[in-house]
């Protein structure tokens, strides 16, 4: 490798870091928006569960999904909004993509850790003394093991990368193009479903799924669409116009 190539790589890392730091310009607090949404949902659940007499039942709540949805939307909006400004003024698309994705993935690692800690607390406090399995709604995170951390974190990374992809796509194709693209994707999905029904393959698929453990799906197979979304995000973004 020539020294020029090394220089270029170092400068790309530097530029990506700049893009990352740009996201803290308005307020560092924005980075924890999804956490605030999650804690809000948790507080509401605590209130509802302590007010009602649900404690006798085996209580659970799907409120933890809020952080996944919030992370998806905030990443989407952030990429969509920052692209025009940053790339318009002087950043390269490459630096922008790397910087934005790095921040978003670090965010999801942090959130994964927070979920993991709360899950551990939940177990230690007898589900908050209310039988409220908020941080373990589908029983897939039963212990304080690295596997539990991954069950939380890998899907978070997936929604994050998907958010970058959606942000890039909505930027590149505009509102109308993005809608058309969504319709096209849905049609394609419908076609696949119809095709599966036509060749009568549902049983085989259901059988395959039942042989995978849920945690294998959440920590392993999710990586496939994650990689696809990451690659697709870059391909879409590299031709987007600020």
């Amino acid at each position: 490798m020539t020294s020029l190539a090394i220089d270029r790589r170092a400068s790309l890392a530097g530029r990506a870091l700049t893009v990352a730091r740009l996201q803290l310009v308005t307020s560092p607090l924005l980075l924890v928006t999804p956490l605030v949404v999650l804690l809000g949902a948790f507080a509401v659940n605590l209130m509802v569960f302590s007010a009602n007499d649900l404690a006798s039942e085996d209580g659970w709540s799907g409120g933890v999904a809020s952080i996944y949805l919030a992370q998806l939307v905030t990443t989407w909006v952030s990429v969509n909004q920052n692209f025009s400004f940053t790339v318009g003024l002087n950043a390269t698309r490459r630096a922008f993509y790397l910087g934005s994705t790095a921040v978003a993935v670090l965010q999801s690692l942090l959130y994964g850790l927070v979920l993991f800690v709360f899950n551990t607390l939940e177990q230690a406090t007898g589900e908050w003394g209310l039988d409220l399995a908020f941080f373990n709604p589908i029983g897939m995170a039963p212990d304080a093991s690295p596997r539990t951390f991954l069950v939380f974190t890998v899907p978070l990374v997936f929604v994050t990368v998907l958010g970058v992809f959606l942000g890039a796509a909505s930027k590149r194709y505009g509102t109308r193009g993005f809608l058309l693209l969504s319709v096209a994707l849905f049609l394609l999905l419908g076609l696949v479903v119809a095709l599966i029904s036509y060749v009568d393959a549902w049983e085989a698929i259901a059988g395959w799924l039942s042989r995978q453990s849920p945690s294998a799906v959440l920590t392993g197979w999710v990586l496939v669409p994650t990689v696809l979304a990451a690659g697709g995000g870059w391909l879409v973004l590299r031709r987007a116009v600020p």
Binding site: T18, L22, V25, T26, Q81, F85
Partner: protein, 227 residues
């Protein structure tokens, strides 16, 4: 290369939650040569409200933010794409003054695209005129200025003077003709003009551009780019 470039476009977009101070903070991160003190003094001079949301700024204030970023970035290559939109005459003059003064202290390449040609005529060193996507002038500004003149006088005299030159444009009222001519006017030519009773005056850069572009099929507002 891109890191040393600053491109301020007329439709520069800012994230929705940005205030003026955020845009400056972001620019400070993006540009290695950023001069914060200079940026702050420009903000004061353009009377920009630091804490106002960018999307609530007037068109002129929005342009002023771009001007501040472009100037304070001190990027070796700075491009301004019609940076004056919505700026009043006072603010435009302020921009031209600051641009010239800062350029003198920190020489760099500035590309400025504009429709207000006469306003920047004294600033530019090199002129590029693009007419309907075609580059029709690519010339050092000083040389361009001498190249086109306005000859006024009696019709026959002006015709005689124009014989050896390209006529770009001609108008006339009764016995008096006004010809816009292309071609160097040296001492001998001036003497000839005096003998014929023709007054020769240089045209402004804007008139020059107009006369060069009106020959086109559809006259459009010319765009001047200068570096």
């Amino acid at each position: 290369m891109l890191a040393r470039t600053c491109f301020v476009r007329k439709a520069q977009r800012y994230p929705d939650d940005y205030r003026v101070k955020h845009a400056l903070r972001a620019a400070a991160l993006l540009f290695p040569n950023w001069d914060e003190a200079y940026a702050q003094s420009l903000v004061d001079e353009f009377r920009l409200p630091r804490s106002r949301a960018i999307k609530k700024l007037s068109r002129g204030q929005l342009s002023a933010v771009g001007v501040v970023i472009g100037l304070a970035s001190r990027a070796p290559l700075t491009l301004f794409d019609e940076p004056y939109l919505g700026l009043d005459a006072v603010a435009r003059q302020l921009f031209y003054d600051r641009l010239l003064a800062d350029y003198a202290e920190h020489p760099r390449t500035v590309v400025l695209s504009t429709h207000l040609i006469d306003e920047v005529a004294d600033l530019v060193e090199h002129v590029l005129v693009i007419d309907q996507g075609r580059l029709i002038v690519d010339e050092v500004a000083d040389r361009l200025r001498g190249q086109v003149v306005l000859a006024t006088g009696p019709v026959d005299a002006v015709r005689a003077f124009a014989a050896s030159r390209t006529v770009l444009h001609h108008t006339g009222v009764g016995p008096v003709a006004r010809f816009t001519l292309r071609g160097e006017v040296d001492a001998a030519a001036r003497a000839e003009a005096e003998r014929l009773g023709v007054t020769v005056t240089p045209v402004s850069l804007q008139q020059l551009v107009v006369s060069l572009t009106t020959g086109a099929a559809v006259p459009t507002a010319p765009k001047e780019t200068a570096a």
